[in-house]
């Protein structure tokens, strides 16, 4: 009996090891006991703030630029508008975690695939809370892992100043979208980059400094 169970145990330990083996993203990190069950994202929260950015979008070698505006209009919803530098409105969405409404979009951009991509990108950008299922750390950073169905979210925070500087959306094995924040105060992000890995799409937002004159 003893003999026959040993290989079985070995195999199951091995399998266990494999299934426990962390995602590439958490390589070099140690698993930690959960300190909290939810993580509150500090950005895009203030309903009094007009979040206005210069936007540069690079999609399959084409460059598009304009002005990106987001504003929290009620507890659950943000209004998101993208205009040209001249001020012409290109698209105008209302977006929450469960609802989505197109207020307007110019015919040139009115493509289902584009709208769906932007919808999920903006949802990721404006999402305010994650349920945490795992936690990892190394000397500099803490990573919080959240899971929803087959989607995984990795929230990277720096230990020194507690800032959320990166969110990665991934499948079980692969990174899908990398969302990075540069923030001075961990309330407002001056610079945001949304980098896709499965399509050639990169969106960069740079905070629009108010004019001093």
């Amino acid at each position: 009996m003893q003999k026959s169970t040993t290989p079985f145990l070995l195999i199951s330990c091995f399998l266990l090891l494999v299934s426990c083996a962390s995602h590439e993203l958490t390589k070099g990190y140690a698993t930690q006991a959960l300190q909290k069950n939810t993580y509150e994202v500090p950005y895009f929260l203030n309903p009094q703030t007009d979040y206005v950015y210069k936007a540069n979008i690079s999609v399959y070698g084409n460059e598009l630029s304009g002005i990106f505006i987001a504003k929290k209009i009620n507890e659950t919803t943000h209004r998101v508008v993208f205009t040209t530098e001249f001020g012409n409105k290109l698209l105008d969405f209302e977006i929450s975690e469960t609802q989505f409404k197109v207020n307007s979009i110019v015919s040139e951009l009115d493509k289902k695939i584009l709208i769906n991509t932007l919808k999920s990108d903006f949802r990721l950008l404006l999402r305010s809370q994650y349920n945490i299922s795992k936690q990892f750390e190394n000397t500099e950073n803490t990573i919080y892992q959240s899971q929803a169905g087959n989607k995984y979210y990795y929230l990277f925070t720096s230990k020194s100043d507690n800032k959320l500087y990166k969110i990665v959306e991934a499948s079980k094995r692969k990174e899908k979208i990398n969302l990075s924040f540069t923030s001075e105060n961990n309330i407002f992000a001056q610079r945001i980059i949304i980098q896709h890995y499965n399509i050639k799409l990169r969106i960069e937002f740079n905070f629009f400094k108010p004019q001093s004159n």
Partner: protein, 208 residues
């Protein structure tokens, strides 16, 4: 309640506008058009500083950008934003040349009717040479300043711009403000100042 309040606000608004501005008579409009056309015909070059205010109802503040515009006959145009970012766009020989913080790109608009119209509209807005009854339904107003409201007839243009409102200097008949209204009542207001007419402009300005 909300509707009542809106009606009240609207009627106050229309009262105040009607107090400040009055529709010109046919004779006044003809004379005004003539004066503006005379001035705009003499414009060979034009440079002006501008401040752009993007107004959207849901924002707490207008988005303000500013820079400089240069125009040279017959159709060289540079629109240059300097604050809060450097972004310049040149309309030249059927091409749009863009310089976005040093990153350069070009778009061929040779065959794009809508861009040709847009180009004409921008130049016309600033020079005042926009009174084309075939393209627009135009109404003229007098008051503290003279004003023209233009409603595009072209369906393609109408999608982007519901109305263009040009405000003119009472003394020299040049444009001092351009207001572009979008269909949703949001607008872009551009204030022109420090205008210089017919100074020499080097073609190199339009290279981007």
């Amino acid at each position: 309640m909300k509707i009542k309040l809106t009606i009240l606000l609207l009627s106050i608004f229309s009262l105040t506008t009607s107090a400040q501005e009055q529709k010109m008579t046919a004779a006044e409009a003809a004379a005004f058009k003539q004066s503006v056309n005379d001035v705009s015909k003499k414009i060979k070059t034009l440079t002006t500083d501008f401040v752009q205010f993007k107004h959207m109802d849901f924002l707490s503040k207008d988005i303000e950008t500013s820079g400089k515009m240069s125009f040279k006959e017959p159709s060289l145009l540079q629109w240059q934003y300097k604050k809060p970012y450097n972004y310049s766009i040149v309309f030249k020989n059927g091409k749009i040349l863009i310089n976005d913080e040093g990153k350069k790109s070009a778009v061929d608009i040779g065959n794009s009717k809508i861009f040709a119209k847009l180009n004409k509209l921008i130049v016309g807005s600033v020079s005042g040479n926009l009174f084309d009854d075939k393209e627009f339904d135009i109404a003229y107003f007098k008051g503290k300043q003279n004003m023209a409201r233009l409603n595009p007839k072209d369906a393609a243009l109408k999608k982007y711009i519901k109305q263009i409102e040009l405000t003119f200097d009472k003394e020299d008949f040049t444009v001092v403000q351009v207001k572009l209204l979008e269909s949703s009542e949001d607008y872009t207001r551009i204030v022109l100042k420090n205008k210089v007419i017919n100074a020499k402009i080097d073609d190199a300005v339009f290279t981007n």
